[in-house]
Symmetry: C2
Subunit: 298 residues, 2 copies
Amino acid sequence: MKIGKVFKYFRQTKHITLKEACQGIVSVPFLSRFENGLTDISFSHLLELLNRINVQLSEFEFLYQQKNTTNNDLLPAFQQAYQEGNAAQLKKYLSEWQKKQGKFANLQTIQLKMMLTTLGEGTVTEDELAILVSYFQKIDNWTFFELYLFGHAISFLELPIMLNLFKELQKKEIIYDDFRHDNFSILFYIYNNVILHLLANNCFDEAHTLVNHLENYFGNHDKDYYHQARLFNLKGLTLYLMDQKVLGLRLLKKANLITYLTNHKTDFLKNEKNYLTKYLSTEELSEVFNFSEVDYLK
Amino acid sequence: MKIGKVFKYFRQTKHITLKEACQGIVSVPFLSRFENGLTDISFSHLLELLNRINVQLSEFEFLYQQKNTTNNDLLPAFQQAYQEGNAAQLKKYLSEWQKKQGKFANLQTIQLKMMLTTLGEGTVTEDELAILVSYFQKIDNWTFFELYLFGHAISFLELPIMLNLFKELQKKEIIYDDFRHDNFSILFYIYNNVILHLLANNCFDEAHTLVNHLENYFGNHDKDYYHQARLFNLKGLTLYLMDQKVLGLRLLKKANLITYLTNHKTDFLKNEKNYLTKYLSTEELSEVFNFSEVDYLK
DNA sequence: ATAAAAAGTTGCATATAGGTTAAAAATAAT
DNA sequence: ATTATTTTTAACCTATATGCAACTTTTTAT
């Protein structure tokens, strides 16, 4: 219980006295006791105190989690290991979570197995997928946890089932409209995967609808260049496959051009190219990844 | 005190029973009373409960703030009014905060006056600026609150004083390295303004140092295209003014090209162009804002 | 429709969060 | 060094957070 200590750190580094910090909220002796870990505090009082010393709850939480070894939410940890392709670390997490019991521990376990499978080092059974599906069907509010879980499940689920779940998600998604950047990234990631999955299965119209739907987002977030570029990419491929080849290729090139100009890691463009090999002809491919006209800017 | 209600919403929409949610943390009856607003809860218990139902504190806070009319942190509200150029609304806030007393209310007041001044509808006295400076000098931990305050103060402060304060900030900034996107935006905004201010005062070397410092960030955040483009812009102008005109103009053009391709509001590029009029010749300007070579992609 | 089971609520007991006062210890100011 | 201010600690007290058992309501099963 070092919550108090974190508060003390903020207060002292801002040179605010106990008296200034607590006026009208709690008493001086109590605040002192709280800061020194001798007593707990109510949530609403903590909110008021943080407001008084001009610290956002997110800032407070950040430092608190950082100083706490018993990490409360393990999602970022999973994510990191997964993105690094660190299968060994994921297996560690897996054996930890397999010891625990309960519905949610089980879901975490399945999530880890899916991650490992994607990395080529694991398997997911039919039963486990059934558990996932029934969980998603039951839920009618998606938070970061479910978004993340679903994002990894997309390619494991049968297309019609996956699409149905996705429709459920869309109904709720409004909450995230002006939500934190972190959460929108996950949401976009899901859209991205669903659309690619649809295209791979020749469901062009559905994919197109989703692309159009995504476009609305950028009315309010015109500074989100990265996702804008990804959207050009998705739209480009979709139009290309819907026989609007010229327009499609232009969009694909635009996406690549932006990516190229912003110095995104070269691996990224290499992966993009790899993926498009499935769809584009050799000439088209080399045109879409030809940046000679702006090369002088590099 | 509708904290409990928000928790109840999350729990119920995820179809988790009281028993499942509280096992090993609090008792069923207590959780029920908390949810119905009959009692407060300790912060640590709330954290555990949120973790149990797989809701992030930030998600919880978001919904809580949204449903709470008595907004706890007014920074976003200020920001919105300021960005919209809504002077009337800012004046409203000002008269509200002038009624309150205390050091922080005073700081908020000054901040509002600076905003209004920037919009051409207010004045800030020397005394008020002195208060600001002494506040920043005393502080040795910068949170969102101070970042925001400083961001608006930059052009009001004497250059050497401002630079000293900025150096203090830089020492602390490490905390924000892998911090939330929101906070980094503010930090970048500050860097941006400081660099432009330096350039306007012919302090090229200092500006260049800051530009180099900013570049380090993008090693870990290569998906942040928007800020990457802004950095190209800053670096371009800096190099241009340091007599590396060719390289500088290339970077400026690169920044504009990215901005153009991502469909950022046309006002944005117009403002950029306006600003650069101070420095570039007419021919240079029209070249840097000439997008004919990629026009066919639009 | 009715019983059985589970989920949620209420009343009372108690542990603990938090206030008040005062005094000791530690910092800051002169 | 001496004063003044801030912080910590202590003792005692009150309000309230929380647990337990019994109760009511809702859901599920037959």
